[in-house]
């Protein structure tokens, strides 16, 4: 199973990559919107974790683009700021506020991939 992690914070990118790799996933990373869409096309991931604030584009905008291309692909919005009452976030499968404890993220990924 392949996870695309989109986050402009390089440390967080690396943390996610190492932790999720240990869980047995293949992890690819992108640091901005352009990279993210390229990876999305070329790597064909099974699930995406998507930061909302990115240097080039809005994560919500990316969410829409990805959903248009692959409506069934599960996407987890993973952000530093709580955007839960922003309606557009509802288009994603799941929503999580970034935490140093990745337990919740891991179980969320597991659950969404099982559902697939």
């Amino acid at each position: 199973m392949k996870i695309l992690v989109v986050d402009d914070d390089l440390h967080i990118q690396r943390l996610y990559k190492e932790e999720l790799t240990e869980e047995g996933y293949e992890v690819v990373v992108a640091a901005n919107g352009v990279e993210a869409m390229e990876m999305f096309e070329s790597e064909n991931p099974d699930i995406v974790t998507l930061d909302i604030r990115l240097p080039d584009v809005d994560g919500i905008h990316l969410l829409r683009q990805m959903k248009e291309k692959k409506p069934k692909l599960p996407i987890i919005m993973s952000t530093a700021y709580d955007y839960r009452d922003d309606f557009s976030v509802w288009a994603s499968e799941a929503y999580i506020v970034k935490s140093s404890d990745l337990g919740e993220l891991k179980s969320m990924i597991k659950r969404l991939l099982v559902k697939e």
Binding site: D85, S100, D101
Partner: protein
């Protein structure tokens, strides 16, 4: 439906909205104007072209943040009805407006904006202010009117005077007319006339009177008790006369020169008034001024038209002394009439004031109330007047110390104060002005009490909204600049933890745990700033309380605190269970903290007046009165460092968003009782 019909209906609707006199504006969720009707153009001065596509142009700068917060709440489906606020016109002028704001949905029921209907209530506000200002002035009139009650009415009094002038055993003139000075208009106005219309009528009256043998006092009695009519020929003629004091005639000279005139031949007197020569066809007449307290208040005009008897010097002396006698009586009767009018006018004003207005004696007995008082109390005036004001308004058997009336009674000075009236269910801005009698003795007070409960609430909301908006901007940046590094620090510490041994592992554990603590605090702050959104469903109140108690069980056991439950709500309430659980947990955890060790917490649930009530009572240290007012404020804490001071603020906010409320009672050293009220039926 036929497509053209739909189009037609839509066009009709649009044209109604376009031409509606109230300002109707729609805007999207960013506050950008999407439609602007003619009412809005008139009220705010911006043309449609100027307003479209802009952020709400009528919101004054200092309210922009509060407005955005409102839009945020509309986004959650909230509706604001008749809420009063301030708006700014294109020319910068501020106006008071009453607004109704409701969400605008697209065909798929998604909220895409809002519709705002506003009405200019500046005039209403100004009138209300003006009325309060006049309160004191009116209180004096109040007194005069009651002091003079029982005095003879002006109309009857004048009739008596003129009859006395024309009766044969009075002054014996044929006709008499009374003119009164109207100071406002600068004129002499005919007030009343007595005398026959023609020689025939004069003859009939004289013969009848001689047959009836009525004396002057008989006739006076008749006038006082009989019906008062002002419809004789002379009355009607008289009432139509108005002579400007700027004209130079005999009548105006009598006023200006304050003296009598005896005109024995009209033709020889060029200054004779046109009205007298033409309408009354008088040949000879006399005029005497009515002087009261050095002021000419009117004149009496007489002639002997029918019997042609010349007016002699002794007639003039008689007329003058009579005039002097009656002048002061006329003046006071006139004053009385003015007061009566003023009183009537004031009663009308009183009754139309939406504020409660009432007067009470220095012994606290209510003497006058307006309609708003009986409406507020739901009782007719008769059941209120005569009662003690503190019984009626405060439901007590002694005066309240804070009551402005009480202060005025003690000091004799006017007072203004805000007063919470639990008995009337609200907060009132009350002003009290003393009334003095003619001897300067304090006899009571007049009050105006305005219900400011709503305004208070709005004020609080406004302050809160402004505080939050400022905090919101900081929070968004804090979230990114602090949370990301925290995640990295904590995340890698956890990774170290897995790969290290001994002391080093322990160090990594400490870092990971501390970071987790910081993240939790950050989340609390952000949750508070963002506001809480609700996902409501029907939840059994008692089971929720059980669940909350369960979560705290280990902590309660550890601190040897006994939890007593008495759950009798037995019903379901529409709520966001996660949020309400959070709210109750915060309160319960506060109760535990207040006790420390060894104590009792009693949790009760019940149904009271359409509310599910959850009561959490502890035997802890209690909260002093000074602190009690701050406990729901953000960042207020007595627990020392490591605590955000947001727990109760969040609880309060959650319960408020459920249209409920939290009440707190507390006594230092005895404990506190928190009561959470959740409406059984949500008001949406």
């Amino acid at each position: 439906m036929d497509h053209s019909l739909v189009t037609e209906i839509r066009q009709n609707l649009e044209s109604i909205i376009e031409n509606f006199p109230d300002a109707i504006v729609t805007f999207d969720l960013d506050g950008v104007v999407t439609s602007w009707n003619r009412g809005a153009e008139e009220m705010y001065g911006f043309t449609k072209a100027e307003a479209m596509g802009r952020f709400l142009p009528f919101v004054p700068g200092f309210l922009v943040d509060a407005e955005r917060e409102k839009i945020g709440r509309i986004r959650n489906g909230e509706v604001f009805k008749d809420y009063e606020t301030i708006r700014q016109k294109k020319d910068g002028a501020i106006l008071d407006a009453s607004l109704t704001l409701s969400p605008l949905k697209d065909t798929e029921e998604r909220i895409v904006g809002a519709i705002c209907i506003s009405r200019d209530i500046s005039d209403k506000k100004r009138i209300e202010k003006e009325l309060v200002r006049r309160n004191q002035e009116l209180s004096r009139l109040f007194f005069i009117s009651s002091a003079m009650r029982g005095t003879v009415k002006l109309g009857r009094l004048l009739r008596m005077i003129l009859t006395a002038v024309t009766m044969s055993d009075g002054l014996g003139f044929n006709r008499a007319i009374l003119f009164l000075v109207d100071e406002n208009r600068g004129s002499l106005k005919g007030a009343m006339g007595v005398g026959p219309a023609s020689s025939e009528e004069a003859f009939q009256i004289w013969s009848r009177l001689s047959l009836e043998r009525k004396t002057l006092s008989d006739i006076m009695h008749d006038i006082e008790t009989g019906p008062l009519r002002k419809d004789s020929f002379l009355d009607k003629l008289t009432l139509s006369i108005e002579i400007s004091l700027s004209e130079d005639t005999i009548l105006t000279r009598a006023v200006k020169e304050r003296r009598s005139f005896n005109i024995q031949d009209v033709k020889a007197e060029p200054l004779s008034d046109f009205i007298l020569t033409q309408q009354l066809s008088t040949q000879a007449y006399a005029v005497a001024p009515l002087i009261s307290r050095d002021k000419v208040i009117g004149i009496i005009w007489v002639d002997n038209h029918f019997n042609r008897r010349p007016i002699l010097d002794e007639d003039m002396r008689f007329l003058s002394s009579f005039s002097n006698q009656v002048a002061s009586v006329v003046e006071s009767a006139g004053l009385f009439e003015q007061v009566a009018l003023a009183e009537q006018e004031m009663k009308n004003i009183f009754d139309s004031i939406s504020d409660m207005v009432f007067s009470s004696t220095k012994d606290y007995v209510l003497t006058k109330i307006n309609r708003a008082v009986s409406e507020k109390l739901g009782k007719p005036a008769e059941e209120i007047i005569g009662k003690k004001c503190y019984e009626v308004f405060h439901g007590r058997n002694e005066p309240r110390r804070k009551c402005p009336h009480h202060k005025t009674v003690r000091t004799g000075k006017p007072y203004v104060g805000e007063l919470d009236e639990p008995h009337l269910g609200g907060t009132f801005l009350t002003s009290s002005s003393p009334i003095f009698d003619s001897a300067g003795e304090f006899i009571g007070t007049v009050h105006v009490a305005r219900d400011i409960t709503e305004i208070k609430k709005l004020e609080k909301q406004l302050i809160m909204a402004q505080r939050m908006a400022a905090l919101g901007e900081v929070a968004a940046r804090v979230a990114h600049d602090i949370r990301n590094p925290l995640v990295s620090i904590g995340g890698f510490a956890r990774r170290l933890e897995k790969h290290l041994e001994g002391n080093l592992k322990e160090y990594a554990t400490i870092i990971a745990r501390e970071v987790a603590g910081l993240e939790k605090i950050l989340s609390e702050i952000l949750a508070y700033v963002r506001g809480v959104s609700l996902e409501k469903r029907m939840v059994n109140v008692d089971s929720l309380v059980e669940e909350v108690a369960g979560v705290m069980k280990s902590e309660l056991d550890e601190k040897q605190i006994i939890l007593v439950k008495s759950l009798n709500a037995l019903s379901e309430v529409s709520m966001d269970p996660g949020n309400v659980r959070e709210a109750l947990l915060n309160i319960l955890s506060n109760a535990i903290h207040a006790i420390g060790r060894d104590g009792t917490i009693i949790v009760k649930t019940a149904i009271e007046n359409n509310y599910a009530v959850i009561e959490i009572k502890d035997t802890g240290c209690g909260i002093s009165e000074e602190i009690l007012q701050f406990i729901f404020d953000p960042f207020f804490t007595t627990k020392g460092s490591g605590n955000t001071g947001l727990g109760l603020t969040i609880s309060h906010k959650i319960i408020e968003q459920h249209n409920g409320r939290i009440e707190v009672e507390s006594k230092p050293h005895e404990g506190s009782t928190f009561k959470v009220f959740l409406p059984l039926e949500s008001e949406e």
